[in-house]
């Protein structure tokens, strides 16, 4: 796809300002060895996720093969190819949380939200993901909604927590 067309397609999902901010990120890192991962991290911070079209845009902007971008995006769990919800729910499935029942928290969230782990509710309000250890093992089991951390969560509390958002 040529660049003009790519840009047009991207504007269907992202705003002009966002794309400009992305362009500035390219400028800052271009030519710097090993820059692809920091670039992807910063772009995702602007756009929220990294759909394939945007990856193409990054490949062009950073002058690296698309395969390389796709390879990196799919390798690291921090990068997402699907949109995130306005409130991102993260359930810790680290060992300490797991032995204290985090699996049940995740199950309950899945049934409350009606979506599976790794996806987003149709209204894009919540997205649900699991991760391995946020290092807050003392609070196990732990779930996070956005920046808020909830410790010693009981399955029965899940509904209550969701209701506050």
């Amino acid at each position: 796809m040529n660049q003009m067309k790519l840009r047009e397609r991207l504007l269907e999902e992202f705003s002009q300002e966002d794309l400009e901010r992305v362009g500035k990120i390219f400028e800052r890192y271009r030519g710097k060895p090993g820059a692809l991962i920091p670039v992807l991290e910063e772009v995702q911070a602007v756009t929220g996720y990294l759909p394939d079209l945007l990856q193409e845009w990054i490949a062009v902007g950073m002058n690296v093969p698309m395969a390389r971008v796709f390879g990196v995006v799919t390798f690291y769990s921090f990068f997402s190819r699907v949109p995130k919800g306005r409130h991102q729910i993260k359930v810790c499935l680290g060992t300490a949380c797991y032995v204290r029942g985090a699996g049940k928290i995740l199950e309950r969230l899945e049934s409350e939200l009606g979506v599976k782990e790794g996806s987003v509710t149709p209204d894009r309000k919540f997205s649900l993901q699991s991760l391995r250890c946020v290092g807050a093992c003392v609070l196990a089991p732990v779930m996070m909604v956005g920046e808020d951390t909830y410790g010693q969560v009981q399955p029965e509390k899940v509904k209550e927590i969701l209701a506050t958002y």
Binding site: P33, G34, T95, A96, E156
Partner: protein
Amino acid sequence: MILKFEKRGGEMERLNPRTLTEMAEKIAPSLAVRFSDEVKPGEPAEQYHLLVCGAPGCHATRSLQVMERLRQEITLRNIREKALVVETGCNGFCAKGPVMTVYPGGVFYQYLRPDDAVEIIEEHILKGAPVERLMYKDQATGRPIPKMKDIPFFSLQKTIALRHRGLIDPEKIEDYIGRGGYQAAAKALTEMTPEDIIRELKASGLRGRGGAGFPTGMKWEFASKSEGPIKYVCCNADEGDPGAFMDRSVMEADPHAVLEGMIIAAKAIGAHHGYIYCRAEYPLALRRLSIAMDQAKALGLLGEDILRTGFHLDLEIYQGAGAFVCGEETALMTSIEGKRGIPRPRPPFPAQKGLWGKPTVLNNVETYANVPQIIANGGLWYASLGTEKSKGTKVFSLTGNVNNVGLVEVPMGTPLSTVVLEIGGGIKGGKKFKAAQLGGPSGGCIPAQHMDVGLDFESVTAAGAIMGSGGLIVMDEDACMVDVARFFMDFCKDESCGKCTPCREGTKRMLQVLERITKGHGKQGDIELLEELASFVKDASLCGLGQTAPNPVLSTLRYFRSEYEAHIGEQRCPAGVCTALVHYEIDPEKCKACGMCKKKCPVDAIEGAPKVVHKIIQEKCIRCGTCYEVCPKKFSAILRT
């Protein structure tokens, strides 16, 4: 009094070894209060320092609000000269959060609520009468233990890497310098040759704290002897083991110790550029590291012409993007190069060909944090601690079903029982200790009969686990060891990078077998199949991830084989964890129709009414165990089989 950086013409003054010492001498008196044990009962001290824990655990239990209230009350009473509130890094006693220590005297307060601020200020600060109600209580007698140093959790520890925990403000370089910080770097840069540094490290017997336990001095020697104008010094802060937060706490509590250790390493090998590879899941550690680096640069302790000795070192923070395998050294370097973090075969070792093909030293956070102490006090001092082959101390993050969850640093060789029962205060809810899991997904379980094992590299390995980075997860009688093995295998399968077949396919097949067993479809011969696969994955995998992935299975098979056999032969999960194998019923004799289980059942699988004995509808039951847990102890009417 808080000292500011000295400024000349608006610029920070770049320090040299002499002015660094002068600065330390100037600051030290303002910190002396924090090291004073002296208290006269009923007589308020001239000045108090209130050290509140600012680690994520305490943040989540509202320590920031506690701090805010303390500051408000202090301002309100106009006693800002008398009381200084300091946000420190992790204090270690996370189970009691939010926690605070008040000096002089070192009075330890626990479970603080913002409203407690008034009483603390009124009684302790203004009248010199510590608040008993908020103190730690002795587990046996229930009597308050006022001083932190007398609480068993602290008194049995020996802190080197964590020596500043709960004592300094990690966001203020003055606190670090006032405690003698950067003196070791000054010594290394002015008085020592690279050979001297390496000799000292070798004498200390320090071994890598990331898990493998390779002697640090030897690693540095290899890199130092590698030819080449460009070399790198890297810090592995990609603490990926679930249930481990030692490195996070070190970075959050004492970031300058890590930087200083890296400067010394750079001098030893002749590197002028370095990276700290830290995982994205640690935003606070990332922030404090970056603040520390800015401050160090401003004072000429990092960057060009460090301490005016002509030595330069540029450090960069590299934020990981969520891949466990990047904790492996070659994968970490590949990731810094901007690629998929895939390991490569060794040799060549990083000391010869590492980052971008240049000689590289990579050490873990805790290892670096020990280095300044070794240079300052001498290798022999460090070697006087620990066992014959494992010197010094080790930091553990003690979690799971233990009372005193927290961060613990003990001399190498300390018995597991001391850590779990004395420091850890025993098992939660009076249950029985079943096993301690050490070393994360690469480690193993140590069962009750080996509780006296010393925590050092050799003894732990002999017991079938590994030291690993220091995650220590305590499991009680309710843990199903087959399920634990399945959990770790699931983790390794997810995190396998896919480059080599034994790891990619082997972990997947092993997981399939384990899942089959936990779902009640285990077949005769499955245990033998697991053993066969395990030895294959161990021997043939490319990197540490695959080579150690079978360990949790092998160690649980070694000590808890009967649990596997019960799952396969009798379709029974002895711990009642594997939902497919448990069955819940209500004992009509015991049920008092209180309605608790009916109310809490998430799928409405319980029928009954007031005064009518309840019953579980088996077709609807999802075996979540909620009823079992909520049924009042005095009735215990739910039967689990």
